[in-house]
Chain length 232, copies 2
Amino acid sequence: MNASRTARERVRAELIREITDIARRQLATEGAVGLSLRAVAREMGMVSSAIYRYFPSRDDLLTALIIDGYNALGEAVEHADAACARDDFAGRWLAVCRAVRTWALAHPHEYALLYGSPVPGYAAPQDTVAAAVRDTAVYGRIVAEAHRAGRLTPPPICPPPPAIMAEDAEVVRSLIPDVPDDVVTRAIVAWTGLFGMVSFELFGQFNNTITHRAELFDHNMTCLARLLGLPE
Amino acid sequence: MNASRTARERVRAELIREITDIARRQLATEGAVGLSLRAVAREMGMVSSAIYRYFPSRDDLLTALIIDGYNALGEAVEHADAACARDDFAGRWLAVCRAVRTWALAHPHEYALLYGSPVPGYAAPQDTVAAAVRDTAVYGRIVAEAHRAGRLTPPPICPPPPAIMAEDAEVVRSLIPDVPDDVVTRAIVAWTGLFGMVSFELFGQFNNTITHRAELFDHNMTCLARLLGLPE
DNA sequence: AGCGATTAGAGAGCAGTGCTCTTGACGAAT
DNA sequence: ATTCGTCAAGAGCACTGCTCTCTAATCGCT
């Protein structure tokens, strides 16, 4: 009985996989608003209403794609970090930044789904936040390890963070353990700077303006690394 | 004859204004994807097809809203800058940053239209880029004036910008005149950092994580100002 | 003042969407 | 062998952007 149940479950899981695959392909070509359940069904040779057996609504399909996207980006970031020497903290940071940019350029619509304007009326369920921190954790680990190794020497240019932010830092601390508050705030500056840069490039803010984007990206990420206090 | 022509033109302009007003209100409540020409027509007591006399397509209406948005943001930024002492460059930068954030929080959907994921299949026409640089010009002016006044003393932490970027800097130079390349690249770091921060807050990346957002924002913008080399 | 040309609005209609409900068939457990 | 839950299918609702045709009003000019 158990075997038969899993047989049914298996074909069900296979169908869900196929649906998300087709949906991801559609997302890549048409974007999030062009994602159509009917089109997915058509491509599968199903009738549209049958899809609702597997995803109760379009938003649920979007949620699945979002989680997949966070995991794909997280994986790319983890690989980039793993390929570096552990004590080359600046190199790890730059590798992580490049991995984010490369993945985003390769999957622009998925990136937009993760870091672009939220789809109105769509509230990201709690499932997504777990996947969302995957890449952030990598990069928090780099900062934390650099700090622990005594290799974090931030230039004395930032004002001390307001005391009120200690609580927030508390929440963030699970991602960047055992670092002082001012390291946390600098890390947030670098973090938002990274994604601000990638988003600007991807969302067209550099059009007609900046052409040597890879070079500028590397340079700016290095500036942020210095602000963070990463060595070299 | 001129008067009568303008009579017709006037009612036409009035209707266009009314359409964009209703559309903007709809945008504010429903978001860009919820913007419906039929709903606008319904609210105006018109039939849907009549709208097409004024906006040949939904994208054209969106374009009008985008241009209006850039101008509204630009105006807010200009006002914030104008309220500061001309030689208080750090104060002007922070005021501009706050103006962007305040405007974005007050008009989240419009901000998303300007700086969020681009609507797929929608290519921003050239008209929008002219309006888009309005706020950027303000902020480039602050940096340029600080540099000209000899008040720009960037900390020696950034590597020199790659020579290849000189051409890009050339293009940007109209917005930040008469500054060396490394000032331009630092300015881009600060610029992307500002919008990266605002976008993260608005697009939900700080949810369940950072609560004292105004304080963190001010602090981080000050860090970026120091990186830029703005005094005080 | 009146006539021809231009413009505005109304309505029907097409193709597409997300989603719901009902119907009939199949396979598994009793 | 029969009951029961699952599944695909189809019809249908309300909505979208957009195009067409037709009518009525308005404007410019003689």
